[in-house]
């Protein structure tokens, strides 16, 4: 039996869409700074990119707080159980309308592959982008500035890490945009991320009706 479940809470959705917008905007301004095209004007691109970067960092700070205060961080712990079945599904099963091998529940929203990829994003790609981005902003010729301790003679390694991360993020977005169409219906996942509700297979052991906002965190922490 399928039932409407409140799966993405308001902050989560706000975080997701703000992050999505910022990543697109950072990519557009960032690749202009990289010299790939001319659109905003170079000085504007740099200044917009810096402002968006600060906005992103603030968003990340809130998101980290949210993840830990709600316990949602556990959703991203990688697991290898069922990973073979998941790969198998994307490579074979999906074409014959086989059922998803991983059940989506409020407590486990992500399949093993998603867990792995999002975990890598959170602990690898985003930190690399934030750290290299901050260095890029504040790196001012260490010989005269205050960053001599870092012993950097050039912005080059910083820029190269930042560029590599940007390509990784774009590749992620391409695949992500496609994979959200692989839900129950092509638009299921998109609707869920907009409204918060998704129709999922009911599981008797779990409370699936939308809890009200106040009690939700507690429910999950149990």
């Amino acid at each position: 039996m399928r039932k409407q479940v409140y799966i993405y809470r308001s902050f989560e959705r706000f975080w997701h869409w703000t992050q999505a917008f910022l990543i697109f905007f950072l990519a557009a301004t960032g690749f202009e700074v990289h010299g790939s095209f001319v659109f905003f004007g170079y000085q504007n691109a740099v200044e917009y990119h810096n402002v968006a970067a600060y906005a992103f960092i603030i968003l990340i700070a809130f998101a980290i707080f949210w993840h830990f205060s709600t316990g949602e961080w556990k959703q991203y712990l990688p697991t290898f159980s069922n990973i073979k079945a998941q790969i198998n599904f994307y490579l074979v099963g999906i074409f014959s309308n086989a059922p998803h091998p991983t059940k989506k529940t409020v407590l486990s929203k992500l399949n093993p592959l998603q867990r792995l990829v999002y975990f890598a994003l959170k602990v690898l790609v985003i930190p690399v982008m934030v750290i290299s981005g901050l260095l890029y902003m504040f790196y001012r010729y260490p010989q005269k500035g205050g960053m001599a301790g870092l012993n950097l003679d050039s912005v080059e390694p910083i820029a190269l890490f930042h560029t590599a991360g940007a390509f990784a993020l774009i590749a992620f977005i391409v695949v992500h945009l496609y994979l959200i169409t692989t839900g129950h219906k092509p638009t299921t996942n998109l609707k869920a991320m907009i409204t918060g509700y998704e129709e999922i297979e009911e599981d008797d052991t779990e409370k699936t009706a939308a809890p009200n906002e106040e009690t939700k965190a507690e429910t999950i922490e149990k």
């Binding site: 700074v33 014959s96 050039s154 391409v174 945009l177 496609y178």
Partner: protein, 523 residues
């Protein structure tokens, strides 16, 4: 609860009013407006020299004028005689050479090569008279030419090939009674015509700077602030601030934009951050030689061709010489984009007698030091002047030929067109050997471009440097610059990862649609 709200409101209002109060206190005029005010004030002289009886007479010799000057300005001649304008040399420390005297006596330039043996002619731009022989032994203070710098009547002129003496037609009494603070004309008459013609040497100092428009020079524009040379090149005891690295070697006594504009003059911090590594001139002088062409190449090897035994000249449509029998062939350039180098304020020079063993490389007449990794270095715009200069392949030295003489038969190149004889006499005069053989080697000389500052609107754009193609800084490859530089490995592998992702997505999606439609048909 009500109390807390009231306290918070009061606290908030206090902060807001404090901020507003402090802000109104700080509302000063922007620096540029202050500077405009300061330099728009007209200089009012404290004395009227026409009222001095000692100047109201007929001067038979220019030296008498100098004597008259010294009777009141009793110490000034000592200052002048210590100055570069008088000595044509400085005591400088040059890395690898130690402390040396360097100046027009021992340095070579990329134009008329050098002054030794040619003093009669070159003295037209010396602040002295009676330069009929070698520069040394120049000790007579009455030979100081006060008027060439201080004439405010604009009627003073030095005679050609007269060892620095004024033109016989000059009314010395009139000039002496109209002296004052140096004007643009005083400086320009020499500094705009260096190298034997308008704008030959510098490219950014030329006769258009007597009355420039705002587009040509924002500081000196006659309809603008109308600044004079000495507003920036201030002097103390006749020692001028600023110098040219055609002869200078040390990072001292430089005249800079920062002395008025500070090191962070922009509103946008992103621009101010550039000032650590980029000189003001780099962005604010997008082109030089804006009005009249400057000499960019000088090939001495073609000199000496004669038509019916007579020297001749060929001019381009603007009237610039492209060939002179006495000097060789020239290339000129107008509205030129500067070249760019790292510069830390120190320079080395080719000095008379230096040997050059590797003639396959272009010989740098002056070497301006600097690099990205040197914290004192900034990127500056320069004019590079390229030449072919006479060279002795046996002694491996550049040749200082005797160029000028009054008449034929004295061995001067410009009269007799005999390289061997002119070289022999020239090198003997400077005390150096000459083997009797000569050839020509490629040389280049670097001239920092500091004048012809453009208006804000014409400043170099970000993407003129920050771009993949045709970056103005394409030649400076010792650092990473965003937009210009990238790692081809990261960029191409990044592109391929994205392309393959897209292809993968379309392939996967295509198969999904295909299999779904097949299933539907099956049903």
């Amino acid at each position: 609860m009500k109390k807390i709200v009231i306290i918070l409101v009061v606290f908030f209002l206090a902060i807001v009013s404090a901020v507003l109060f402090l802000r109104t206190n700080e509302t000063q005029q922007p620096l540029t407006v202050q500077l405009k005010e300061k330099y728009s004030k007209k200089h009012i002289p404290s004395v009227d020299h026409s009222k001095f009886t000692s100047l109201q007479k007929n001067f038979a010799h220019p030296q008498e004028v100098t004597e008259a000057c010294i009777t009141c300005h009793t110490e000034r001649h000592k200052e002048v005689m210590k100055s570069n304008h008088w000595n044509w040399e400085r005591e400088e420390y040059v890395k690898g050479r130690g402390i040396i005297h360097i100046g027009k006596k021992n340095a070579i330039n990329n134009f008329c090569i050098g002054v030794e043996g040619n003093e009669q002619s070159c003295a037209k731009c010396h602040v002295g008279f009676g330069m009929t022989e070698a520069l040394s032994g120049y000790t007579d203070s009455t030979n100081i030419d006060c008027l060439v710098c201080h004439d405010n009547s604009e009627t003073y002129a030095k005679g050609s090939e007269m060892g620095g003496a004024p033109d016989p037609g000059v009314d010395l009494a009139k000039v002496a009674q109209n002296v004052g603070k140096p004007k643009r004309t005083n400086c320009g008459v020499c500094h705009f015509f260096g190298g034997g013609g308008n704008n030959v040497k510098h490219g950014d100092l030329e006769k258009a700077m007597f009355e420039p428009s705002k587009e040509v020079d924002v500081h000196m524009a006659s309809e603008g602030v109308n600044m004079s040379c000495v507003d920036c090149h201030t002097s103390e005891n006749h020692m001028m601030k600023g110098k040219m690295y055609s002869l200078s070697s040390m990072n001292r006594n430089r005249s800079s934009c920062e002395q008025c504009h500070t090191e962070s003059p922009h509103e946008a911090s992103i621009l101010n951050e550039h000032t650590l590594k980029v000189a003001c001139q780099t962005c604010h002088i997008p082109v030089y030689a804006k009005v009249n062409a400057t000499k960019t190449e000088w090939d001495w090897s073609t000199a000496g061709q004669l038509k019916n035994g007579e020297p001749f000249e060929i001019d381009d449509k603007d009237g610039n010489h492209t060939y002179l029998s006495i000097k060789g062939s020239f290339t000129w350039g107008k509205s030129l984009k500067p070249e760019y180098i790292w510069f830390n304020g120190t320079a080395d020079h080719y000095l008379l007698g230096d040997t050059v063993s590797d003639t396959s490389k272009v010989l740098k007449i002056n070497t301006l030091n600097g690099s990205y990794s040197d914290p004192e270095s900034k990127i500056i715009p320069v004019k590079v002047h390229r030449a072919k200069q006479p060279y002795d392949p046996v002694t491996k030295m550049l040749i200082q030929p005797k160029l000028f003489a009054d008449k034929k038969g004295e061995g001067a190149l410009w009269k007799d067109f005999d390289w061997v004889r002119a070289s022999d006499i020239g090198m003997t005069e400077v005390g150096l050997p000459f083997s009797g053989k000569y050839t020509f080697i490629n040389t280049e000389m670097t001239w920092p471009v500091n004048h012809m500052v453009s208006t804000k609107e014409l400043t170099v754009n970000c993407i003129e440097c920050h771009s993949r193609n045709e970056s103005r800084l394409a030649g400076l490859t010792d650092f990473y610059m965003p937009a210009r530089d990238y790692s081809s490995i990261i960029d191409s592998s990044g592109k391929w990862i994205v392309i393959l992702s897209i292809l993968g997505v379309f392939l996967h999606g295509g198969v999904r649609i295909f299999s779904a439609s097949k299933r539907r048909k099956g049903n």
